[in-house]
Symmetry: C2
Subunit: 798 residues, 2 copies
């Protein structure tokens, strides 16, 4: 905390003019990236053939982003602090690329984009072109942990980066458009969760240039008084900076950053000194500058600067319109390129000298390349949490499956908590840690909470590090930011409501997919998503809470990234979790319910089973080694389907003992995909060793049944798989009624197995009659007794 030099000190005219020069350089390179394929230093008059054939890019937000970068650079040099920069208006890709080029990080990472004329040409030609770089701030952008594209997540990513990084300052620019979104609107609640004693700081910069793509925005047209009230009501003290005169805005913004920094450090010092700070308030900056600032003021007689018309490419048709071409040249020369570049075409040393050095450059910050600072998670031995399952009596005991994961995570918290209360692991969960039976974590830490605490509250503390807020967006986004800055964690959610943030998970898969291809991006911990309170066992909450669609949302995405796990019991869950917590650069979807479920495997058996991805459960099959090959394969994936499938196998065993059955349990869903389509895809040999190549297979599946068909295409005789899964039938009812409604009950499965078996065994008639009569009985029984028939409620494998 002793490094508070520079703050409050004068911003000299020389410094201002240096900064304006950096800014001109950044703006010049931004325009050049959008427009030029040649003559990139304007060393000759601009001609049509210098212009790219397709003009792609967003100018509007860029000058503001570059100004912020400029001032932050000076601030970093003065204070010797660590900052990262989240560019919410990710459209401004060329602006951030320009500044990271000026500071030198770009060329260090991408040597072909060298610091000379050839490099500038490469910089321009690669932008928004095939084989080049995307138009938005992206995984390719040095210093970025935030994809510019789908809007809404700037502030949650910033928050995630700040948690448990006490020395980090996160500048988070939020644009007009993003400020209208749901996730961003919710994320202003951060002061209720950010701990000034142990976390870093987030400095939101609400950058209002007033417009989105073709119209104004709500905050852009809301009077500053109201915006200030809005922020103040959520724990932010807003500083307004507004104007269109660069010198004035630079001075004011520089002061605003300084003041913010002083306020942050003062708050942190109080909290770190042991004071219990009440009514925490963090600084935030409301910055109003014109959209397309310093660009063409009018085009074809129409006002552009300061309006939505500056959003993308303000001068179009430049190749064919000599007037526009001339205007572009005038615009570009207004930045005095001859002063920006030296004779070799390198950025002038006087400009480059303004950047911070080494890892303090925002494009080079190790915080924003989290794999560089990531440490392995010190995982306790899972044997300590294993459920005691009698290997001679699988399926005879009942346990709330997720409890063991809570105990495992409790000790991960303990193993990673530092002496001063920080750490490298967090659990994020809407408001359901207890409900999801993960409450053991509260033995190690509490929920993070900076607002008042009442005597009757449980597990709530300013120093708590379990993150609960009733927003899947916030939970998931915070975790993303936490992981991308090198830490570890898990997002636990009600299965159905994970769809609320499905698009965020999809965008993160896209990020990891591209990050994977960049060697300079060190691997980060996987995004682990626990889907619990699943469709089958939200019998008490009803249809809105019943939906296994996240599986379908992830199946088509990058096979390099996506993993879907369906552990059937506690010990398999432990084994899978242990694997997922070690893995990097994946998105692991773990689907398992929290209610009491049958427990099948010892830890050893579970480890072996999970490593295989799927195996034959001999103890449940009537197939005998060296005996006849199966007449029917009974497969299952997921806890409730496994239970029903086993009950069906038992019915078959007892009623049709001559039928040879084989029970297969699948834990690693992606194993069903052909090996060419997914690295986990079971080899043809393995697939056939499980499912044969021609015997019919009854498959009880946790999710929508056709998802399995989607995966099985390409497997031998895929039509022989008869999948029962969630058929989107639900309401508030009993657990067994759920499987009946969706025709996945033991009786449905047994009926289907008899029908599809290679021959009709003795006892088939009786079995069919029994199944049908049970199904008939079921409904009238539950309507009368308001609970399930005892024979299904209390059923165990034996």
């Amino acid at each position: 905390m002793t490094e508070q030099v520079g703050t409050g000190s004068a911003y000299t005219d020389d410094e201002l003019h240096e900064d304006l020069r950096w800014w001109a350089a950044a703006n010049y390179l931004t325009v050049a990236q959008i427009y030029l394929q040649d003559n990139v230093l304007l060393r000759e008059p601009l001609r049509a053939e210098h212009i790219k054939p397709r003009l792609l890019g967003h100018w509007g937000t860029s000058p503001g982003l570059s100004m912020i970068y400029t001032i932050l650079n000076r601030h970093i040099v003065r204070t010797d602090t660590d900052w990262i920069y989240i560019a919410g208006p990710g459209h401004g890709g060329p602006a951030i690329v320009a500044s990271t080029y000026l500071e030198g990080t770009y060329s260090e990472i991408y040597p072909e984009v060298s610091l000379d004329e050839a490099g500038v040409r490469a910089l321009c030609r690669q932008f928004s072109t095939p084989g080049g770089i995307p138009s938005h701030v992206s995984v390719e952008t040095p210093g970025s942990i935030h994809e510019g594209g789908e809007l809404g997540y700037a502030l949650v990513h910033a928050a995630g980066a700040a948690f448990d990084n006490p020395d980090l300052m996160v500048a988070c620019v939020i644009g007009d458009g993003e400020s209208e979104t749901g996730p961003l609107s919710a994320s202003w609640k951060l002061p209720a969760f950010l701990n000034p004693a142990r976390d870093g700081a987030v400095l939101p910069i609400l950058h209002l240039n007033g417009a989105k793509i073709s119209g104004p925005t709500v905050p852009g047209r809301t009077p500053t008084y109201d915006v200030t009230e809005y922020l103040s009501g959520q724990g932010w003290d807003a500083i307004e900076v507004a104007g269109d005169d660069p010198e004035q805005v630079f001075r004011d913004f520089q002061r605003a950053v300084d003041e913010s920094y002083v306020a942050v450090r003062a708050l942190q010092e109080r909290a770190r000194g042991g004071e219990e700070v009440e009514g925490i308030r963090w600084p935030a900056i409301v910055l109003r500058t014109p959209k397309g600032w310093t660009g063409p003021h009018k085009v074809d007689g129409e006002l552009v600067e300061g309006t939505f018309r500056a959003h993308q490419v303000p001068l179009h048709g430049v190749r064919d319109n000599p007037e526009h071409l001339a205007e572009l040249e005038t615009w570009m020369r207004s930045y005095a390129p001859q002063e920006i570049f030296d004779d070799a075409g390198a950025v002038a040393a006087s400009v480059r000298a303004l950047a911070p050095s080494g890892d303090k450059r925002m494009g080079a910050s190790p915080y924003a390349n989290g794999g560089r600072v990531r440490t392995e998670l010190p995982l306790p031995a899972i044997a300590d949490y294993a459920l005691d399952v009698d290997p001679e009596a699988p399926g005879a005991t009942v346990h709330e499956t997720t409890r063991v994961l809570g105990e495992f995570m409790r000790d991960i918290y303990r193993a990673t908590t530092t002496a001063d209360g920080g750490g490298t692991f967090r659990l994020f969960c809407p408001d359901e840690t207890h409900s999801n039976r993960l409450g053991a974590v509260f033995e190690a830490t509490a929920r993070a909470w900076q607002l008042p605490i009442e005597y009757y509250d449980d597990d709530l503390s300013p120093t708590g590090r379990v993150m609960e807020v009733l927003s899947e967006h916030l939970c998931e986004g915070w975790l993303e930011g936490y992981l991308l800055t090198g830490r570890h964690g898990l997002f636990a959610s009600y299965e159905a409501f994970t769809m609320v943030c499905a698009s965020m998970i999809i965008q993160h898969v896209k990020w990891l997919q591209h990050a994977h291809e960049l060697e300079w991006r060190a691997p980060v911990s996987s995004l682990n998503v626990l889907l619990t309170s699943t469709c089958w066992r939200n019998d008490h909450n009803g249809f809105s809470h019943q939906g296994p669609g996240m599986i379908d949302a992830l199946i088509p995405l990058s096979p390099e990234v996506v993993r879907i796990w369906l552990p059937p019991d506690s010990n398999t869950l432990l084994s899978i979790s242990n694997h997922c917590f070690r893995s990097v650069d994946h998105v692991n979807l773990i689907v398992v319910d929290k209610q009491p479920h049958l427990q099948y495997l010892t830890l050893d058996a579970a480890e072996e089973h999970c490593a295989a991805g799927a195996s034959i459960w001999r103890w449940a099959s009537t197939e005998r080694e060296g005996g006849r090959r199966p007449d029917i394969v009974l497969a299952c994936a997921g806890d409730v389907p496994t239970q029903e499938l086993l009950a069906a196998a038992q019915l078959l065993r007892d009623h049709t003992p001559d039928l040879v059955t084989r029970v297969v349990n699948v834990v690693d869903l992606m194993g069903l995909l052909p090996p060419a389509d997914h690295p986990h895809g079971f080899s043809d040999e393995k697939f056939e060793s499980l499912f044969t190549d021609d015997v019919h297979c009854i498959f009880a599946f946790h999710g929508y049944s056709r998802a399995v068909h989607e995966l099985l295409h390409g497997r031998p005789d895929a039509d022989r798989f008869h999948v029962r899964g969630f058929m989107e039938q639900g309401t508030t009812t009993t657990p067994f009624d759920m499987v009946v409604l969706n025709r996945m009950s033991r009786y449905h499965l047994a009926l289907e197995a008899v029908r599809r078996a290679t021959w009709r065994p003795d006892g088939a008639d009786e079995l069919e009659n029994f199944c049908r009569s049970q199904l008939d009985r079921h409904r009238s029984y539950v309507v009368e007794h308001l609970e399930d028939m005892p024979e299904v409620r209390d059923w165990r494998w034996s």
Copy 2:
């Protein structure tokens, strides 16, 4: 506006005590629904066997919801106004059911739940039980347009109901949990869009009881001063009501509702009198009452009332715990059931008399059963917008496909706009109406906007009725509310970002699925979702903007509700839109791009094609009537896939003229499902007439390829379908590079067709060489020229 009687008038002690009696009745029935299966009027001492075996339900929020209902009832009687009630804390299902039972609507709709002891018993036994009703406010609940389940959408549904309903008041209760969500947080921006002159009013009631399921909430623990600032900054004047003394809270809340009503009417009168009201402010109520108010104060020595412990069932194990049983009885008797019910077990006439009458009862409001007030949309003849396509030259012209829909909707706006500027149709679109080429609507109306307007703005007006806000959540949710109250509309979005609100669409499908089963719910207009700016043509925006996953998200849902349309060109889009705007109770996903695309069909041909769902395009096939059956089937669905498939067909025709090809275009994706699985599923006969039963088929598909396999399972020899689709490969690049990256280019398709055809025709070698050389050339060409090769860029069918 003359009906402002009663507001500000005294709330007498008699009235207060009447209201408290209604409230006691509602609370009694709430507890009874959660706990009792018998002895529901407590006419004998409570015994264990009267208690349900499973205790499911949420007590915590219920007393507050019931108090609000009570006071609104009196307000409606006094002012003779139309209100509907949105219960954001939908957990409080039993509370809303109780009040609709007390007011008589419940028994009118469900006669078996009669107004006598048998009816009360049925009411209790049906709650949260199989064959009964869900535990949450749901589609079964009279007067509801809002499913209690996934939180976040109360205020957007309320807003949608209020748009264009000038006489309607929408009470919107927002609970603690919901207030933390993203969508709800964003929806406070409503005052920027709600027009006091032409729209109805929304009265938000932020009901803070301080806790969610197991902890406090941010607004629940935020000082009222801050909450007030937060709301004020967004255009709401908050009135606080807080306390735990029922008499005091009832008086205060009654006054708050009165004051709010007066403020609303005053604002509306000013606006409706022609005044341009600046700085519009709407009233909102912040209500703080204890969670589980009037319930058990302590249980087993632990504080329950006012804490998270009152969330669900405050007394558990009542069957086995005599103390809890006694406490339950004491609690229930505290509501004096003997005064609520008459000797026959009917609700006392003095209580029932407090309800408004007829359709003014909130459970009976026609506004909340929108199909009852819905009028057919007066659709102009689509021939007026048809694109002139030469039937002799399909695929020879180019047009921005979605433009015709903009023109169509412009005239729908015109046809539905009333003399005073209201209407029954709205377009909702993040900020992309122009970008999506739907801008013609602005010839009929402007964007809705109540904030300041600048001289350089386009198409912005307080009376505008195009809804643009950069939030898919708001757009989609507003439209849901608009449709459920009997109107019509369309939500247009960038394809990838529709995933942002995927969970909302899924929940709406669930709503319609259940509504469909209830005869008393009159059909409402379908939710029409236009997915444009699609994955293939977001070449300029990059990977984050490229994702066809909405298709996968909808496929597994209710076949009664879900329709997916892939029109290949303008006239098919017109035909499909025309159909969708007439349809009811569906969710129509229409996937079509906005960029210039080849146009194939005349309107007549398009109408025929769309009615068929899929047809053979003879003009593009080399198959001749009476000739040999095809050697290969070339199928396509979606605009870009159709173009590439046709280009491949042309390559085959030109290079391998002896090969008999058949081109099939699919518009109605659900036609691929077996008819048993979807009402649109093509019959076996039709399917074979299109695809044969054994010839291999190359299928170019808009979305992820395995989605087609998911649909085709169960069709004859489904393995012979070779689908090329989006493979999750993307970046900022050229349009043709996108199809190359995803291996769906004409060259890939032609190569695959030759490989899969029944025989190897002359010319196959040359064709393969040509395709491979073109693919080789492509990448180096675009890297050099920064645009696509002219032969693909300028390709036309001929």
